[in-house]
Symmetry: C2
Subunit: 339 residues, 2 copies
């Protein structure tokens, strides 16, 4: 292993000078810098981060905390995509990325504690958001830098987070249905405990109100993620005396389930019922009628959170902020004019 001393010896300067060259300190003459850099290149020098971290406090590493795998959400293509987003800025800034590996909530907490106490990372990105999260409590108590993707459950103004404007997205996509002549519009969302669901639902309701459409409670369904839930939801809607002509579904994967159940029941999409969805996962363009869906820009959610976190690791005193990533509506084939 070639160290700073080897480079120093090679160039005939002191180790401290080499260290300064690495840090690009202005106090070093251009000549020396040049010379040292050549030697580093020639000998194949690479900084040993452990030595560096021991003295300088920064690790130049951040951690990403995944939700516990009890949560089926993991199957969602969301994760590889956020990780890519995070990765892109991580790479650009020459940071490195550590992933949490716990499966249960308890394990995740332990993992986080190990990362924080052992000074593995400078900051953390929480890839989920839940009620009364002990991880958040711990980080707050230690005043450790972190940002959250999605909307925090409490202390909204005190936690830096990156989110979409889910209210507006929900409103706008519902408006799309309304503009196409739909008046009986249902909503199928995930758990009510999740802010994504709540915000999108509020948007949906607002659109209805703005258009002077009544909102029927039977038209709003919350279901456990997918599969059985999605099936039940659809069956419930179809058994109603007056069937909806349009449905807003809060997740593409969910839409897939809705779509298949609808077809099983002989209901044609978009002929009989129009469907709009969220996320623009890859699969949303390969379903039978391709889905009209809200592209929430997952990659950007990741990238922005990484940027915000790095900023925060440099100065944890900057005021917390909320970053809203713009969404785009992707129009495809799941919506039809309703006469």
């Amino acid at each position: 292993m070639v160290t700073i001393k080897d480079v120093a010896k090679e160039t005939g300067v002191s180790p401290s000078t080499v260290s300064r060259v690495i840090a690009d300190n202005p106090r070093i003459s251009p000549d020396t810098k040049q010379k040292v850099r050549e030697a580093m290149e020639r000998l194949g020098y690479h900084t040993n981060i452990h030595a560096r971290n021991l003295v300088a406090k920064s690790t130049k590493a951040i951690g990403a905390i995944m939700p516990s795998s009890a949560n089926k959400a993991l199957q969602n293509p969301f994760f590889p995509e956020v990780l890519r987003g995070i990765g892109s800025v991580i790479h650009e800034r020459q940071y490195s990325l550590t992933l949490s590996s716990g499966e249960t909530e308890q394990e995740i907490l332990e993992e986080v504690q190990r990362m924080v106490y052992g000074s593995y990372v400078d900051g953390l990105i929480l890839l989920y958001s839940r009620v009364e999260d002990p991880v958040v409590a711990f980080l707050e108590e230690r005043d450790f830098p972190y940002v959250m993707i999605g909307k925090p459950f409490a202390r909204l103004e005190e936690i830096t987070h990156v989110d979409n404007d889910n209210f507006m997205a929900g409103k706008q996509i519902t408006n799309h249905l309304i503009a196409r002549g739909h008046e009986k519009i249902a909503f199928i969302g995930g758990s009510k405990d999740l802010f994504v669901t709540r915000d999108r639902e509020s948007g949906y309701l607002a659109a209805l109100t703005d258009a002077d459409l009544p909102h029927d409670e039977d038209y709003v369904i919350h279901t456990e993620f997918l599969k059985s839930g999605g099936k039940e939801a659809v069956e419930q809607l179809l058994s109603l005396p007056i069937r909806p002509t349009g449905i807003v579904v809060t997740d593409d994967l969910m839409s897939l389930g809705v779509l298949s159940t609808l077809e099983e029941s002989g209901v044609q999409v978009p002929h009989d019922i129009s469907l709009v969805s969220f996320n623009n996962a890859y699969l949303s363009e390969i379903t039978k009628p391709a889905l009209t869906t809200v592209d929430i820009n997952i990659h950007e959610l990741g990238a922005q959170s990484a940027r915000a976190l790095i900023e925060r690791t440099i100065d944890n005193k900057i005021p917390p902020k909320r970053i809203i990533v713009p969404y785009t509506i992707i129009y495809r084939g799941s919506v039809k004019e309703q006469k």
Copy 2:
């Protein structure tokens, strides 16, 4: 930050003794161990990995290298799942997991070099396999511990890798179709450059041969991952003078595309054409006819590779090995008896 010295002072022993207690050195008396452990607990001591790594050579961290994002495969739910698998053993052994963040091949190589030279990790897991991979060349040259998920392109016997028996799986799933009376069976696979495709195809062909069925070259199609490719493949098959009655598709996501194209063309699955698939991604149970598919046990692929790697980081001289993870066929509704 509470250090080993603080614990030493608190208990009235020397730092070296504390260090030995941490390492559970048998030379320390049970009494002392007890006492020191209590103090560690009380003061909230946590090992600083950077200090430890500086002297002991192990980082107790491994890296996972994702494929370049040029590769659409990233959208595949495969990744969160392998990462979970890796994570489970990582956690169990108290290791930590670093993720590569490069987007292009060049970036990935740089990333790997940084990880290796900077001694960020003890070993690497390659989550992909490609021809003439500079990353592999680099790792081989440095004799750095690594394992690969999938099948290496060269030096099969020299690289520790974790894979399924894709030949047998391909054969068995094809046999399932044959047993149900199908004789005209087509195959839709990904790029011919990928070993997964090749192996599954060989299995498919072997099944045909064993059953004395002819194999028609027109029935074998290689397509770029999905979407347009999947569509074309299906159209090609349907335009044949004699249509197949069964299709083997090498990936669930691909099957989704095949399924929708088939339906668009008015072909009913499984009534007109039966479909079998691979991977058992979550979506395979929510498609219209749920897919009969090969569960390749992605989680286990990850877990096994992590285990093999950790073993290898401890002793890089152990002979390379190949680990075959068993698959299971999940029978669902996409296959029908052919009379």
